[in-house]
């Protein structure tokens, strides 16, 4: 009964979406307020029905109703409750349902908080949202129904892939989807603007907070996925240039570019056409990411060809939306008027440079990810494009970008003074040189490149701080006055500084982890000791433990450094009986931003066990960086000017309009 209700709710949501696809646009064409207003009601009702559908699927998983295929294949009655809930989106069908539920959420948010939007713009935006929603409802209902039943219900389920039974991966997909799907809003706004043939600074002011919100979620989602890979996969790597990772990195790069170009458009009314194009591209890349991950095309082109129903459907969605929106862009963009002239050396110029490098970086990831697929389809040749390729092509693009980051906020709009900006960055430059000298002297004879990278990172961080110091006239006026100025600074200025500093922080972490990582790999028996980077580890013993749906071998290690006793480390190896799979649970000992990382390998015949011990200096900075960036984004989002959006007069006008 629950499954049927969930299925029915989804069908009703599709019906609502179809209505919402057509009626508001007809209303906008005729100037019919009632028809345009209808989009809001349907958007809210859609959220209600999809939300209900999602809650019902969750209920099926929680109650372990194995008469539903989706629950049978991905759940087990002995699974802990939290993984019963997160298992809902730990599989194809459920994650697509989550995707549309988030899409409906964003649509409803526009409907609920879009009162200050021009009425026809809102109608168009919601209609475009409904087109996307209809396509994905159809996809779920026709190829990936999560509510399908089994005629003869089995007694027990097949359990969720053990590697997904982890809190990190429980939170990762919703975050990522909030990011992916959040970009649908800027896409809808772009298409709506093209349909209406009009766009202005108020448009950018509306789009920017939505883009920012999506970007924050995507940043956190990617960082969380990376940290999960780091501790769960058992060898301490945090980024693999895997196509699945690249699929989320591409929208992030394009979205970061969009964030910056929307700024130019809002402030200076320039780069309109480019901003529209980026909005379309960013969401297109989100769709592409969904396609790459969901169609199975990555595992093998042949796997895709043998079971093509889902893949072809998503490919169709991809072609219709990307092709359609780009054609519309080609048709309408020339009519959009350009505004706001600026000199090459200016804040606008710096942001254009940022866009050039970010989009090129995005293109590089795109080419590297899809080239092997294309080559195999065209010639049958199989090649691999992996980390060494990306490090060589993607990496160099970030050096000039990072060098330019501190200059951007220092330049004036319209026409900037590069020399003056450089003068204001003198302190940052000195800090970078000092960092270079210190790391060089400290690690003399060691790698040459890491100190350079750290100097660059320090330059980015000090540059962000210099910008704040400059704006508050720190050290030039009495401190109390500076503090008052700091309080008066717009939050977006603080946001910029935090986000840019976050880049530098992450870079320090990456450089340190890559260069000064120490490792110890050996087979250890109880009472043997190992010493890594000044830490003494002693294997005290091995024990077996029974978990709710697994058995695990736990190794107890006592840890000490310079005679000081540290908390014990308990790495384990779990084997999950239902799927016959095992996972390594690494033990982590955090000291400041550095970590001691311990994971178990296979047991040997003579009672020993293979262990891998790593000391990773400052590794946590890799993820603190993105967290800082997201915090910066949040500060910027809370800026009054963004919150107010298109300002009060518009609301007053609407009230009048109602009285008309």
């Amino acid at each position: 009964m629950i499954a049927e209700a969930g299925h029915y709710a989804l069908v009703l949501a599709l019906g609502l979406a179809l209505i919402q696809s057509v009626v508001p646009i007809a209303g906008a064409r005729r100037g019919d307020v009632a028809l345009m207003e209808m989009a809001c009601s349907t958007a809210l009702a859609q959220l209600l029905f999809v939300g209900a559908s999602f809650v019902l699927l969750t209920a099926l998983h929680v109650t372990s109703d194995f008469s539903v295929i989706n629950v049978f294949e991905n759940s087990h009655s002995a699974k802990p409750l939290i993984y019963k809930v997160t298992g809902v989106w730990g599989n194809h069908e459920g994650s697509m349902l989550l995707w549309v539920a988030i899409l409906a959420l964003f649509g409803a948010l526009v409907a609920a908080f879009g009162n200050n939007l021009p009425m026809s713009l809102r109608a168009h935006v919601l209609a475009v949202q409904a087109w996307i929603a209809s396509a994905f409802y159809l996809f779920i209902l026709l190829t990936s129904n999560p509510f399908a039943r089994i005629a003869q219900p089995p007694i027990e389920g097949r359990d969720l892939n053990p590697i997904l039974q982890d809190i990190g991966l429980a939170v990762h997909p919703p975050m990522l989807y909030l990011g992916y799907v959040g970009f649908s809003i800027s896409f809808s706004f772009a298409v709506a603007a093209l349909l209406e043939g009009r766009i202005d600074a108020a448009w950018a002011r509306w789009v920017r907070p939505w883009t920012l919100m999506a970007w924050i979620f995507l940043t956190l989602g990617i960082a969380m996925g990376s940290y999960w890979a780091y501790y769960e996969l058992g060898w301490g790597g945090w980024w693999f240039w895997d196509p699945v990772e690249n699929a989320s990195l591409m929208p992030w790069l394009a979205g970061t570019a969009l964030l910056h170009s929307a700024l130019v458009m809002e402030k200076r009314n320039a780069l309109k056409v480019w901003t529209i194009l980026l909005s379309i591209l960013t969401f297109s890349l989100s769709l592409l990411g969904t396609f790459l991950v969901r169609s199975g095309v990555l595992t093998s082109v042949h796997a895709f060809a043998t079971d093509p129903a889902r893949g072809v459907f998503i490919l169709l969605i991809l072609c219709v939306f990307i092709g359609g929106s780009l054609s519309l862009f080609a048709l309408r963009a020339p009519q959009l008027k350009q505004g706001g002239l600026f000199a090459p050396i200016s804040r606008e110029g710096a942001l254009v440079l940022n866009n050039l490098f970010l989009t090129t970086a995005c293109a590089t990831v795109f080419v590297g990810t899809l080239y092997p697929l294309g080559l195999e389809v065209l010639t049958g040749d199989k090649i691999s494009v992996g980390a060494p390729f990306f490090n060589l092509t993607f990496g160099p693009l970030f050096v000039p970008l990072l060098l330019a980051v501190p200059f951007g906020p220092m330049l004036a709009w319209k026409r900037g003074d590069l020399l003056a900006a450089a003068q204001r960055l003198t302190a940052a430059g000195i800090a970078a040189l000092v960092a270079l000298a210190v790391t060089w002297a400290w690690t003399r004879g060691g790698p040459v490149l890491a100190p350079l990278a750290i100097a660059l990172a320090v330059f980015v961080i000090a540059g962000a701080l210099s910008d704040l110091a400059e704006r508050t006239a720190l050290f030039r006026i009495p401190l109390s006055l500076s503090l008052r100025r700091a309080r008066g600074l717009p939050r977006s200025a603080w946001g910029t500084a935090f986000a840019h500093a976050g880049l530098g922080v992450a870079l320090i972490g990456i450089a340190c982890e890559a260069t000064w990582n120490s490792e110890y790999i050996a087979t250890m028996k109880p009472d043997q000791t190992a010493s890594v980077a000044g830490y003494e580890l002693k294997l005290e013993g091995l024990t077996q433990r029974q978990g709710p749906n697994y058995r695990e071998t736990v190794a107890q290690f006592s840890v000490s450094r310079d005679g000081e006793k540290l908390p014990a480390m308990l790495p384990s190896k779990r084997s999950f009986t239902t799927r016959g799979m095992s996972t390594t649970e690494a033990a982590l000992l955090t000291r400041g931003a550095s970590q001691l990382y311990l994971s178990l390998g296979d047991a040997s015949a003579d009672g020993g066990i293979a262990v891998r011990i790593y000391h990773k200096p400052l590794v946590l900075l890799i993820w603190w960086g993105p967290v800082l960036m997201a915090f910066g984004g949040l500060l910027s989002l809370s800026d009054r000017r963004l919150r107010v959006g298109a300002p009060k007069p518009a609301r007053a006008a609407r009230r009048l309009q109602a009285a008309e």
């Binding site: 009009r198 600074a201 058992g234 060898w235 980024w239 693999f240 240039w241 895997d242 196509p243 402030k267 009314n269 990555l298 595992t299 350009q338 002239l341 254009v352 050039l356 989009t359 090129t360 293109a363 590089t364 080419v367 080239y371 080559l375 010639t379 199989k382 090649i383 691999s384 494009v385 992996g386 980390a387 060494p388 390729f389 990306f390 490090n391 060589l392 092509t393 993607f394 990496g395 693009l397 050096v399 490149l449 890491a450 990278a453 870079l507 990456i510 450089a511 982890e513 890559a514 260069t515 990582n517 490792e519 790999i521 050996a522 087979t523 390998g601 293979a610 000017r641 007053a652 006008a653």
Partner: protein, 169 residues
């Protein structure tokens, strides 16, 4: 100049590549120099049964076989390029995570720099054209449609004038 470019590229290779490894204790070679060579080579070779993992990362049995093979060749006195030749002859280009430049992969290597150059040139041409066009279209920037014009008239008649926009900051 060329050297600077190589250093820059290497800098980033070091930054972005993380030393992840699945080497088993019993595989490690006695000579630390040879072991280091084996490790560097392992990072560029693909574990063919895994999804996008190098044999240095992968726990799969095939990856272990390949790691041992690499060490065997090094112990036999092969140079790095001879080891790579040996593996490519046996398993094809698919085993290389960094494809070699040939007829089929030249585009892969050229596209990123071309994208950057193309973007740069497009920007340069665009900014020149903009500067020549000057301010002529500034007038039409914020034009209202006739219907909006009419509504604005109506509102202006009914209410004291509203601010058109917030002051620019």
């Amino acid at each position: 100049m060329k050297r600077a470019a190589i250093i820059l590229a290497l800098a980033l290779a070091v930054l972005a590549g993380s030393p992840v490894r699945a080497v088993q204790p019993d595989e490690i070679m006695a000579d630390p120099l040879k072991e280091a060579r084996a490790r560097e080579l392992s990072k560029e070779l693909r574990c063919m049964v895994c999804q996008n993992q190098s044999i240095d990362d992968s726990d799969a049995p095939l990856a272990r076989d390949l790691r041992l093979l690499v060490r065997e060749r090094i112990a036999a006195g092969d140079t790095d390029s001879q080891v790579v030749e040996f593996l490519v002859a046996r398993y094809g280009e698919f085993v290389l995570l960094k494809p070699r430049v040939n007829r089929h992969t030249v585009l892969l290597w050229l596209l990123p720099p071309l994208a950057l150059m193309g973007g740069g040139i497009a920007l340069w041409v665009y900014s020149r054209r903009r500067n020549r066009a000057g301010n002529v279209d500034r007038e039409s920037l914020m034009k209202l449609t006739p219907s909006e014009e009419a509504r604005l008239e109506k509102l202006l008649g009914a209410e004291p004038p509203l601010r058109s926009d917030e002051p620019q900051t």
